[in-house]
C-alpha cells in the first residue's frame, strides 16, 4: 500500500537532494572546531550552510545559531530571554495557542518567579488590544507569539506586534516560533521575523530537511545565556559538536524551497479545498483564516470523530493529523481549544499539511478518503 502523506506540518517529506546532501556530508568526519585542514573544511561547510539559512531568514549569518530543532530553539530563546531581561519585569506574555514547547517552557519558569500571562488567540491570532493592555499595565520581560499557527495556519503580523510593543513603551523582548512559517510565508510577510523579533525559532524537518536540526535567530547585540553548556560552539549559545550533516541538509532544503514550491503548495491547497467543498458539501467545515500560510489548514468532518477518521484514513494509507503531532498523546488539545472553534469542532478536527512534493493525484485520493470517512459518523456523541 502506497502512503499518501498529508501530515507535512508534523514532519515534511524530505527533498531527495537534502537526503543526498545529508548522506554525503555525514562522510565528513572531522570536527568543525578542529584546527587541522579537515576540520577547517568542515567549518567552511557549516558556515556556508549558516549563510544560506540566514539569507532565507533575511538576517545576518552571525544571528543564526544551529540547534537540535524547534523545541530546543524555543527553550533556549524563552529561558534565555526571560533571564536576560529580568530587569524589565517578570511577566511573560503568550497565548494558549502556542506549541507546547512554548507554553510548557513559559509555565515552567513560574518556579523562578516569572508570571505567565495568556492573552486570547481566537482563530489563531493573538488579540493585540489585550497585548497592549498587559504591556501598559504590567512589567513584561518577554512576549512569545508564533508567526503561523500550527493548527490552522493563521499568520500573525509581527510588524503590528512590534508596533504595539513600541507604542506601549515596554522594555520586553519579542520571541516568535516561526517553525510553521519559515520558507512558507506570503511575500508581504517575509523578513518580518528578522526585522521585528529579538529571537525566533525554525526547524529543518518541516521544510524538507531531516529531523534533529533547527536554528535559532538571535538579534545581533543580544547575548543569550546557553541552555546547553560545555563548549564554545555556536558562539557559546549552544555547546556540542555541530550536526553538520543535518545542518547542510537544512541549507539544501532552504535552497530547494522557493517561489515555485510555494506556488505549487498554494495551488494544491486551492484544489483540495475546492474538491472538499464540492464533494463533501455540508459535511465538512473548512477553516480558512486570512492571512494564512498555504501548507496547512484545519477541517472538521461533521460528526466524525478525529481519531475515527484518522484510523480509517490510515487503513487506506492516507496520513493526516488529528492535532499538532507533538500533543496528540494529550487527552485534550488546549492549543486547538484556544482557537475558539467549539468542542464539537475540536472532536472532529483534522489538520492537512501539504508539501510541494505532493501531487494532484494524491490530493484526489485524500479527498476521496475523507469522503469515505463520512460513513463513520456518530451523531451527537
Amino acid at each position: 500500500m502506497n502512503t499518501i502523506y498529508f501530515d507535512n506540518s508534523a514532519s515534511a517529506v524530505p527533498f531527495a537532494s537534502a537526503l543526498g546532501v545529508f548522506a554525503e556530508t555525514a562522510k565528513i568526519y572531522a570536527n568543525p572546531s578542529s584546527l587541522h585542514s579537515s576540520g577547517i573544511a568542515a567549518r567552511k561547510k557549516l558556515e556556508s550552510a549558516r549563510a544560506q539559512v540566514a539569507s532565507a531568514f533575511r538576517c545576518r549569518p552571525d544571528e543564526i545559531f544551529f540547534t537540535s530543532g524547534g523545541t530546543e530553539s524555543n527553550n533556549t530563546a524563552i529561558r534565555g530571554a526571560a533571564r536576560k531581561n529580568r530587569r524589565a519585569g517578570s511577566v511573560i506574555v503568550t497565548t494558549k495557542a502556542e506549541h507546547a514547547s512554548v507554553v510548557q517552557t513559559v509555565l515552567s519558569l513560574s518556579s523562578e518567579g516569572y508570571e505567565p500571562v495568556f492573552i486570547s488567540a481566537r482563530g489563531g491570532v493573538p488579540d493585540l488590544a489585550e497585548l497592549e493592555n498587559v504591556l501598559r499595565s504590567r512589567k513584561v520581560c518577554l512576549v512569545a507569539l508564533m508567526q503561523a499557527n500550527n493548527q490552522n495556519g493563521a499568520v500573525t503580523d509581527l510588524r503590528k506586534v512590534r508596533d504595539c510593543m513600541n507604542a506601549s513603551g515596554t522594555g520586553a523582548l519579542l520571541h516568535s516560533d516561526c517553525v510553521q512559517s519559515f520558507m512558507k510565508l506570503p511575500e508581504q510577510f517575509s523578513g518580518d521575523a528578522a526585522r521585528c523579533c529579538d529571537t525566533a525559532s525554525v526547524s529543518a524537518h518541516k521544510i524538507g530537511g531531516v529531523k534533529g536540526t533547527g536554528a535559532l535567530f538571535v538579534r545581533r547585540g543580544l547575548v543569550l545565556p546557553a541552555l546547553i553548556t560545555g563548549g564554545e560552539q555556536e558562539s557559546g549559545v549552544r555547546a556540542g559538536t555541530e550536526n553538520l550533516a543535518g545542518i547542510c541538509a537544512m541549507a539544501e532544503a532552504v535552497s530547494r524551497y522557493g517561489e515555485a514550491e510555494r506556488e505549487k503548495v498554494a495551488e494544491l491547497r486551492r484544489y483540495i479545498i475546492g474538491e472538499l467543498r464540492s464533494e463533501l458539501g455540508e459535511n465538512v467545515i473548512i477553516t480558512e483564516p486570512e492571512p494564512h500560510v498555504d501548507q496547512l489548514f484545519n477541517i472538521a468532518l461533521v460528526n466524525v470523530k478525529s481519531e475515527v477518521a484518522l484510523n480509517y484514513l490510515d487503513s487506506l494509507g492516507v496520513c493526516v493529523s488529528s492535532s499538532s503531532a507533538c500533543s496528540s498523546k494529550a487527552k485534550t488539545n488546549t492549543a486547538l481549544a484556544a482557537l475558539g472553534y467549539g468542542a464539537e469542532y475540536e472532536r472532529s478536527a483534522l489538520r492537512i499539511g501539504i508539501s510541494p512534493l505532493n501531487t494532484k493525484e494524491e490530493a484526489d485520493l485524500l479527498v476521496s478518503a475523507l469522503k469515505g470517512a463520512l460513513a463513520f459518523k456518530i451523531k451527537g456523541r
Binding site: E307, V308, L310, N311, Y312, D314, S315, K329, I378, R381
Partner: protein
C-alpha cells in the same frame, strides 16, 4: 565470586501427595524464565527451596529480577555459597558483611539449620556470624527487634548460603498448574489486573481483544499488545486473539435502542469470547468487571451478560474499589500503558444515558431485531491471533 540465587516456594509446600507435580511445574517455569538469558544456569530443588548457580557468563542479578515474576515463589534471595563448616561460613560473612548490610545502621543475624547434624545450633551460628559483621562494619549495631538489615545464614544439606533480607516473590501457584482461561482484554485499567490475579493462581492466560476499525486504530491495538506483554512477563507467553466487532456496532447503532447499546455489545462479546475460548482450549473466561463501577457492571447488567455464559466467568476485581485496582495496576506495571488515551471499542458508541436496570427479556427483544448468529459468525471470520512473549528485556 559468583552469586547464587535462593528461591522459597509458596503454598506448594502445603500440597500433599501431588506436591511433586507442582514442584516440577515450578522448576519448568524457572527454567523457561532463564532460557534466553546470557550464560547457563544450574537449577536444583531440595527442602522447599530452589538454588540457582550460574556459569561465568551468567547475569545472576538479571536472573534474580526474572525470578520475582515467577508465580509460585514467595521470596528471592541473592547471596553466596560456601563449604559447610563454621570457619568457611565465618570467613565468608566477614568478607561480604559490608555488601550484605549495605549501609544500614542496625542489623541482626538469622540462622536456618535444615541440616540438623551440623555441629553448631542456630543461636551459636548467629552469635559467631554476628560478631564477624560487628568487627567488619564500623559503627553498626545489633537490633534484634527492628533491624535495618538482616544477614541470613542457611546451613542446608550440601552447602551453606549467606544472603541479605531477600525480595518478595510473585507468590501464587506455578503457571500451568490450574488450566487455561481467556481474558477479555480491553485496554483499560481493570482487565489486565483481573488477568494478573487469575494468572497468579497458576492459570495459563490467553487474551481476546475486540477491535472496531476504524473506530479503534492501530495505536489502541498496540496498547493492548503492550498490556498482554506485561502479563506474558509473568506467564511466559500470551496468545492475543483479535476479533472485529465493527459490523455488530454499526448494526446496533442502526437498529437498537441507544440506552441498551453497551449491554447488547457486551452480550455479543460474551458469545464471541466463548467461541474463541473453545478454539484456544480455554475452560473459563476472565473479565475486569467491578460491581457497580459503570452502568454495564451493575448486578442486573452482569446477570444479562452472564446468562449467556456456558463456561465459568471469573471476575476477580468484582469486590475491589477503583483505587485498589489502580494500586495493583501500578505494582504489576500496567497502569501507565492503560492510561494512554486511545479509543477502545466500548467508548466509541457509549450511550448518553445507559439503562441501569435492564432485564434479559428486554435485551432479547432488542436482539430479535438483529441476525445474531450471522453477525457472530461473520465477526468470528475476522479472528486473528499473535503470540506475545514476555522476555525481550534481555540485556544482550
Amino acid at each position: 565470586m559468583q552469586y547464587v540465587i535462593v528461591l522459597k516456594y509458596g503454598e506448594i509446600v502445603l500440597k500433599g501427595l501431588n506436591r511433586g507435580r507442582f514442584e516440577q511445574a515450578l522448576l519448568k517455569r524457572v527454567r523457561l524464565s532463564l532460557k534466553r538469558l546470557p550464560g547457563s544456569y544450574d537449577i536444583r530443588s531440595a527442602q522447599s527451596t530452589i538454588v540457582i548457580h550460574g556459569d561465568e557468563n551468567a547475569d545472576m542479578l538479571l536472573a534474580a529480577e526474572r525470578m520475582k515474576k515467577v508465580f509460585g515463589i514467595v521470596s528471592v534471595c541473592v547471596g553466596y555459597e560456601c563449604e559447610k563448616d563454621m570457619d568457611s561460613i565465618r570467613t565468608l560473612v566477614r568478607e561480604k558483611a559490608r555488601e550484605l548490610v549495605a549501609g544500614a545502621r542496625t542489623f541482626k543475624c538469622v540462622a536456618k539449620r535444615s541440616d540438623k547434624d551440623f555441629p553448631f545450633i542456630s543461636p551459636q551460628i548467629c552469635e559467631l556470624c554476628g560478631a564477624e559483621v560487628l568487627s567488619a562494619v564500623r559503627g553498626i549495631k545489633v537490633d534484634v527487634n527492628d533491624p535495618e538489615a538482616v544477614v541470613t545464614v542457611e546451613v542446608r544439606d550440601r552447602a551453606a548460603f549467606i544472603h541479605g533480607k531477600g525480595a518478595k516473590g510473585a507468590g501464587g501457584m506455578p503457571t500451568g498448574t490450574n488450566g487455561r482461561a481467556l481474558l477479555l482484554l480491553s485496554g483499560g485499567i481493570d482487565s489486565p489486573v483481573a488477568g494478573h490475579m487469575v494468572a497468579k493462581r497458576g492459570v495459563y492466560i490467553s487474551a481476546v481483544y475486540f477491535e472496531s476499525p476504524p473506530y479503534t486504530g492501530e495505536a489502541a491495538k498496540e496498547k493492548v499488545a503492550s498490556l498482554a506483554k506485561v502479563i506474558a512477563g509473568y506467564t511466559g507467553t500470551v496468545t492475543l486473539y483479535t476479533v472485529s466487532v465493527t459490523e455488530i456496532q454499526a448494526e446496533l447503532a442502526e437498529k437498537c435502542e441507544e440506552r441498551m447499546f453497551t449491554l447488547l455489545l457486551r452480550r455479543f462479546m460474551m458469545r464471541l469470547a466463548q467461541e474463541v475460548a473453545e478454539r484456544a482450549e480455554c475452560t473459563a473466561l476472565i473479565t475486569g468487571e467491578s460491581l457497580g463501577q459503570v452502568a454495564s457492571q451493575t448486578m442486573e447488567a452482569i446477570m444479562c451478560t452472564d446468562s449467556l455464559a456456558k463456561i465459568p466467568v471469573f471476575r476477580p476485581c468484582i469486590g475491589l474499589d477503583k483505587e485498589e485496582i489502580i494500586q495493583t495496576a501500578r505494582r504489576i506495571g500496567t497502569f501507565d500503558i492503560s492510561s494512554l488515551p486511545y479509543e477502545d471499542c466500548c467508548t466509541v458508541f457509549t450511550p448518553r444515558h445507559p439503562k441501569l436496570d435492564p432485564t434479559v427479556a428486554e435485551l432479547e427483544a432488542e436482539e430479535a431485531k438483529l441476525d445474531v448468529s450471522g453477525l457472530t459468525e461473520r465477526a468470528m471470520q475476522t479472528l486473528s491471533f499473535v503470540r506475545i512473549h514476555g522476555d525481550t528485556d534481555i540485556r544482550n
